[in-house]
Amino acid sequence: MKIAVCIKRVPDMDVRFKIAPSGTAVDETGLKFDISDFDGYAVEAALQIKEKLNAGEVVVISLGGDVVQETLRKAMSMGADRAVQLKADGTHVDSFAIASALAAELKDGGYDLIMFGRMSIDTAHGVTGAIVAELLGLPCVNAISKLEFDGRTAKMRRELEGAYELVECALPAVVTIDEGIARPRYPSLKGIMAAKKKPLESKPAQLPAARLSLDALALPPERAAGRIIGEGTAAVPELVRLLKEEAKVL
């Protein structure tokens, strides 16, 4: 099975962000970057499929400047066979434009399965996979937590609120991955060394003109200090009252 996994380079979310002087981007000074969480699950799921079938190829694709090569190499150090960088400097926020460039690359790739994370953890648009499917005329199943195959049929599970859904579709298909599917492995040391020797192809991204622009970024207002309303069980009635009447969350 030939699998493509589209991965995005995102900043580590555990830090305090600053907005760049442009007002439309995050200040990248001192940030640490990694594969977006859900995309990491997708890479792991793809590798497990390949290992189970003991055949096939896993290709990772990322759109961005040369910095994404490090992200691609990380996926190869986990076990992906080769990587493609769709070179595009600057920030890109129009999911349709990004999906178009990815679709152009994926179209003639002969992929049986194209995988995405359910959404990227920085911008959280969650639409790129679905747009790619539409552009390629392929079925798309979003946010799957389980994936199995019966010949050329993919059998998937989606988690719903208090229930789950079982879905089937014929390959080739596009799927987006939810976190339940597989915990990403640590790259082994041999994997890290091997990644240096795996092919990483860089080509210009065929990006159509963006129809969406990012006008301004703003940090949320500082949260007011918390309030301690009492201790132990005696405080519970007052807490419930405030959650109902003041915070209006109950």
Binding site: S77, Y186, L189
Partner: protein, 411 residues
Amino acid sequence: MATELSTPTYLPSPQLTPREGDLFNLDAALTEEERAVRDSVRAFVDEKVLPLIGQCYVEGRFPKELIAEMGANGYFGANLPEEYGCAGLNNVMYGLIMQELERGDSGIRSFASVQGALVMYPIYAFGSEEQKRHYLPKMATGEVIGCFGLTEPDYGSNPAGMITRARQQADGTWILNGAKMWITNGSTAQVAVVWAKTEDGDESGKSIRGFLVPTNAKGFKAKDQKGKLSLRASDTSELVFDNVHLPADAILPKSGGLKSPLMCLTQARYGISWGALGAAMACYEEALSYSKERVMFGRPIGGFQIQQVRLADMLTEIVKGQLVSLHLGRMKDIGTFTPQQVSFAKRNNVNIATDIAREARRLLGGSGILAEYASMRHMANLESVYTYEGTHDIHSLILGQAVTGLNAFGG
């Protein structure tokens, strides 16, 4: 004629700006692969070691359940060549692995040091091709575990005086007698690298040779050393050899004299210089985060000058130590490092780590004495690290001799 000013750009990653937590931007001094190795081991330690190590320490057991995964990840003998099943990493990567493992616990790092630098290395450096092919791939995966027996009950800092004796028989086989003490992994190992004298009346240690001794050999006994208050998540044993009969090919053919075990110690001490920094980093980070959360007299204790001095001192010493180990690693990679430089790094880095661990524990107030926090565990562990692989004093004497040319070991 104008002289040309040359500005060497020695930073492998000049594009990196200092990350939060990396004030001195040491990441810029590492390559992408070196950072990838460190981050991978860091993730392993965060997810697999930290959740269980406090309890292991209290119970006084080494977490054997981690061995297979550490092996699969390539942590054992990682700087030895790929043709023997090892990861073939450079020495800076190897050091970073030790740093991260000891950020978990000195016992975990000790296990990897013994396996890699004290057992796999001598087999690699002094072994026959057959011994290398037989042992190294299985030791890299952790399928076979080794220990290193040099220290004896009456000969610690002065191993040249060892009593353990291997006598060659007429048919070429060997009979081993003696005892070793303080042997890490002693009760866990399947194979022991045992150092023994092969001639009578040898006081200088020139007849010392290394032997590969299967721990299930008749006459071999390993006994756990009880009552340790340090390095509790590590197996430390006494070994006794009572007429252990070894085949002729049990000897490491290229070993010869005390120099051979000392070469192993140089490898291990290099890794320890990084490892101790890992323990110090864990303590510093714990203290830093506690100082921001713990409120006393109406403000986080990190907002008081006393605690800021503490934290600034800790950070300063860690960064200095990292620069020493990194420089040492780069020299080791090009083959120019000396044992005296390794003594410098081991001595300094372990010493500052013991101080940092103690200061972190103090900053934590009463919480600092609990196993739930890491600082006191590291503080107690580092006392072993301070003593083994050449005590702090012995390394002072090595440095003293290097600078004065005068030998002070005798008094």
